[in-house]
């Protein structure tokens, strides 16, 4: 059994999207934090730290 609830090897999901002009409005980066938290809730994660730059947003998650 995983005593700590920790599995080890991560599962990694990468999704690509397309649209009429996705970069114009910053595409997925327009999703608000509440929406992201709600999605993360479905995979039992929460945001513990976040930072972004001109290109993308990054979130460190806890489970």
């Amino acid at each position: 059994m995983a005593v700590s609830g920790f599995e080890g090897f991560e599962k990694r999901l990468e999704l690509y999207f397309s649209g009429d002009d996705p970069a114009a409005g910053n595409g997925l980066r327009r999703l608000n934090f509440y929406t992201i938290e709600k999605i993360l809730h479905t995979v039992q994660c929460t945001v513990v730290s976040a930072v972004g730059n001109d290109f993308f947003d990054s979130y460190v998650l806890s489970e």
Binding site: F6, E10, S18, G27
Partner: protein
Amino acid sequence: SSLFVYPTKIIIKTCGTTQLLKSLRPLVESAATVGLTLSGCRYTRGTFIFPGVQPFPHTSFKDEVFYLEENLPDNLVYRKAAVLGPRSAAGEKWHVFSACDDSCTLMEDDSYTVEICMTELDRVLAKKFFRRFDDRRTGDSVGKEMTDVTGIRDVNRKALICDYAFDPCGYSMNGLAGGRYSTVHVTPEDDFSYASFECVGSVYDDREEFLRLLQKVVKVFRPAKLSVATTCPTGNDFWKGTAKTMESLGMRLRSRAADEFPGAGTVVFQAFSSRR
């Protein structure tokens, strides 16, 4: 665990007994609210250490693929699932599923992704990822200290670092360097110590610099076992040199396997173990 959100791409990586694939539908639905439709999907993982505790839809790779197949939109017509690694039951394996639509532009032409998984970490080095008892500090503050003390900061000094130390132990870090991310996750407990490193780059990058980066990562953890999964455009050999680099660090190549995936390029999976 980590999440990266680009204008047209999302990467989510979780390291507990989570139900990661359940994020697929809400992510696709949320993307639709900003005018985006799914055009490609890639799912990867190593071999479960504790397969018995995996909740649905993670009970087996077959179940995971079935779940993905059922929940992906019909426009993703090109699909493939494969397990890379030795045929014997023993030994690490790499599980890959990819799907893409007609445009098949899942991966940029010149990019690579490297996923390194390390187990049986050096015990002395792993202890650096334990917090001091009752330190009364925030996870961000201790995380910064761990980033410096462990040598993770030196892996890419140009990166903007977002780090966090969990209580009583464990560590996660996301690095941002322009449009490129890197990420480190560590679970340092003796019986199931594990660390992972992942980064992206261009196949036109200086390969020697890339190999030096891998060396730095391995030196932070000195694992007994290690695997490197490199995803490159098909026909590109950016992964070459990794085995020699690992051997220079006292690791022996145990197995190598490669396969091509629609829209993702070629995945090369190599497993190593320490000579010690």
